[in-house]
């Protein structure tokens, strides 16, 4: 067994276990932290799959951005409380049933489809990727999408500020 394979399975294990932990724990804060582990595990898998830039972005955006936001959200929505930030659980039976049922179907579909045996899979040349090549692609073929995504981010930013911030009347009221 190659060392890369061991690392690969280790990452898979980290991802899976932390994800399961998220599902099993009641504490939101714990699940947020477990999410970090999941993201990190996935980033590792991405690296092994030759998508270094995606992995880095994953860590930057998710761990550095979204998780911070989530933690802030947790803190903002539990102000003044000293107890654990537990979430209540419902739909337990149906939720698990649907999830496992769906997983069974997906797993059965994956195994039936047998992607690994397909021609284009086996014939593919897995040349190592280059971030430069990616950058060229983004700035040429996908430049429109890139710009749109930028605008989307801007709008989301403004929208988030507008929603979470004080309205004008509230501002005047505060003054």
């Amino acid at each position: 067994m190659e060392i890369a394979n061991i690392i690969f399975y280790a990452f898979i294990g980290i991802t899976l276990i932390s994800a399961l932990f998220i599902m099993l724990t009641k504490n939101i804060l714990y699940s947020a932290f477990a999410l970090i582990a999941t993201f990190l595990g996935m980033a590792g898998i991405f690296v092994l799959l030759g998508a270094e830039f995606v992995a880095i972005t994953q860590i930057l955006v998710y761990v550095g951005g979204i998780l911070i936001l989530i933690v802030f959200g947790i803190m903002l929505t539990n102000r003044g409380k000293t107890t654990k930030v537990d979430t209540k659980i419902y739909h337990k039976f149906y939720g698990i049933l649907i999830a496992t049922g769906f997983f069974y179907l997906l797993a059965r579909g994956i195994s039936t489809a047998d992607f690994g045996g397909m021609a284009w899979m086996t014939n593919s040349n897995s040349s190592p990727s280059s971030i430069r090549h990616l950058g060229m692609k983004v700035m040429t073929d996908y430049v429109l999408v890139f710009e749109v995504i930028g605008i989307l981010l801007l709008i989301a930013l403004i929208g988030a500020i507008r929603i979470a911030g004080h309205t004008r009347e509230e501002v005047e009221h505060v003054d």
């Binding site: 991802t15 899976l16 994800a19 799959l49 769906f102 997983f103 990727s129």
Partner: protein
């Protein structure tokens, strides 16, 4: 490094995310579940991209997904905070004024 195991992992993550989304009452916990599901999709994209001749379309799409996820998280958390201010709770079962 078979693709099947990656796809199974993605499916598992998606289902775990689904389970979290469905069962948790707290809105932030639900958001966490959504992030998991998005990541499961990303994993699939990157995994297929590994066997793609051009190698990059999946990755670029994954990047966009991450970006959108970030925007989504920002807006969603803003809403959650606002909702909390309004209802004084973040539990989704109590935020049901529109029910019939």
């Amino acid at each position: 490094m078979s693709i099947d195991i990656l796809l199974l992992l993605g499916a598992a993550l998606f289902c775990i995310g689904l389970a979290v989304v469905v069962t948790r009452k707290n809105a932030i916990a639900v958001l966490i579940g959504i992030e998991l599901m998005l990541n499961a999709a990303n994993l699939n994209l990157v995994a297929f991209s590994r066997f793609d001749g051009d190698q990059l379309q999946g990755q670029i799409f994954a990047l966009f997904v991450i970006t959108v996820a970030a925007a989504e998280a920002a807006v969603a958390l803003a809403i959650v905070v606002k909702v909390y201010q309004h209802f004084n709770t973040a539990d989704l079962d109590q935020i049901n004024e529109l029910k019939g």
